[in-house]
Symmetry: C2
Subunit: 307 residues, 2 copies
């Protein structure tokens, strides 16, 4: 199978996992559950659960892909991760935040369900992520596995909160109110808003499979590199892809007078940084006794993508 | 010591616990942390952590009040509970929800920090609650204590979410959009929006102290009764206290054309239900081998309060 087919196969599996943990649309709170599921099933690359799954496999957590017995510890966390990612999108799109009406070609949650329900749906998703992750405790077969779930929970909460994704979102909101943003602030935003969750995925997969703490720390570093490189590549593509389409090099960020990694560091330096960061990440992934070729290819493709 | 003095002493202790787990106001995400702490330190009765602490003591989790060594397992959950309660208030007050400008005599979070920051502060508090509760894993001294923390985490998440507090809030928001609310819906709102968190407090305290699952289920029932009785008493007081102050029996709920337990069931039935529910709750609390007189008095006072 080539990478694209393997990826499609995995996305199908991840969709099944997400659906397995969806709350049922019933009861007097039915409307908010509908809004939660609407957002959760809006598609997307399912990149985060995929990275978690592959990290889990890499450390021997699951030898056979789609082996339901051995996947029981990681599946609740895969679903939880996507719920947290989705809650952050629902709240980012709110009128008081980015005020976006469309995402992935569908109307955003607050447009369909109203602002109050979108706030509650985001809250519900964040809360349900922890409820779902807690299901892994019931799958733990011994104290050691139980402790892995506890450690994974710690990482899940820590990387999503004020010292992770949410912290990055706060800095981003504040940066947008100003005319300039320092390179330190921009790096903080990328490291937290995007990279923290990538770190979380790689770390949780490894922890649940029984990796040692020093291995988990190396994966945190790799995740940080991947996340930051991904964002810089995003900034690069914003310019180069509009150049291709429009015939002139004006990206949407530039039109919005938004400072990016490229506008601060220049195109050459940005490309060099993507290369350096991704090479470092791949070096880390390739340094473990067990390798996961799919994961290495996935990371390379993510960072060097053309769109 | 009389009940009032004992209560004051406990509130002082709970404030210390909350402050111990507050996030530091530093870093590029400082503003959201300030908004989180502003809301968290806005005062209040600290009733929920108090109930948890007393349930924990009742099952032998802490023989000596303010014994830092033995309180280590429950303290993170006490702080987490208050964070979840506070997040729900911050989001309830938002312009898209109740649009309240004041709470407990202070300006609400969105008035002081803006709407975007208030949404993020609420998200941050909910997330930080789980981060904080996770700290208890590090205090567990053996696999059994570790498993108690996992079970407590499960309860914390479950009772706060779509099948608990948040579900009740959703039904409440929808009921306000309609002219009438059925008695079933009103009971659902009280059972979830208010009672679920009371249940959670009593259950978590007991679980962390090592109570058996059947004891935990009994406490869930007691918590449900206490929460619902508390809300009915609220509806009763809304009418009787304005009668006292204004000299006419028009409560704020009635002015807002909001249906309450009293408007549906009548004053006499409402008072009888408060009595029945609270007697059942006290009977449960008094049925355990170990008694906690303070907890019994606290519950009685809560329900039969005059303001």
């Amino acid at each position: 199978m080539n990478l694209q087919n393997e990826m499609t196969d995995r996305v199908t599996y991840i969709e099944e996992v997400i659906k397995k943990y969806l709350p049922a649309e019933e009861g007097l709170q039915k409307s908010v559950i509908q809004a939660m599921n609407y957002s959760l099933l809006a598609g997307g690359k399912r990149l985060r659960p995929m990275l978690m799954q592959e990290s889990y496999r890499m450390f021997g957590g699951e030898n056979i892909y789609r082996d339901s017995e051995r996947g029981k510890l990681v599946e609740p966390f895969m679903a939880a991760m996507e719920m947290i990612h989705t809650y952050s999108l629902v709240h980012d799109d709110l009128p008081a935040m980015d005020n976006d009406e469309y995402r992935r070609g569908r109307k955003t949650t607050h447009v369909v369900y109203g602002e109050a329900m979108a706030i509650l749906a985001g809250d519900g998703l964040l809360n349900f992520a922890f409820e779902t992750a807690c299901k892994a405790f019931r799958e733990a077969k011994n104290p050691e596995e139980y402790a892995r779930v506890g450690r994974a929970m710690e990482i899940l909460a820590g990387k999503a909160g004020v010292y992770g994704m949410l912290g990055g979102q706060v800095a981003d909101v504040e940066a947008e109110e100003k005319d300039t943003v320092s390179s330190d602030t921009l790096l903080f935003i990328h490291e937290n808003k995007t990279a923290a969750m990538i770190e979380s995925c790689l770390m949780i997969g490894a922890v649940l499979a029984g990796a040692e703490e020093d291995e988990v720390r190396l994966l945190e570093k790799a995740g940080s590199n991947i996340g930051v490189a991904f964002q810089i590549q995003d900034d690069i593509l914003d310019i180069t892809s509009t150049l291709e389409v429009l015939g002139k090099p004006i990206g949407s960020d530039e039109k919005n007078h938004k400072q990016t990694y490229v506008s601060i560091h220049g195109m050459e330096q940005s490309k060099a940084d993507v290369k350096r960061l991704s090479e470092e990440a791949i070096t880390i992934l390739a340094s473990f006794q067990r390798r996961n070729e799919y994961l290495e290819q996935l990371v390379e493709q993510l960072i060097s993508r053309k769109k």
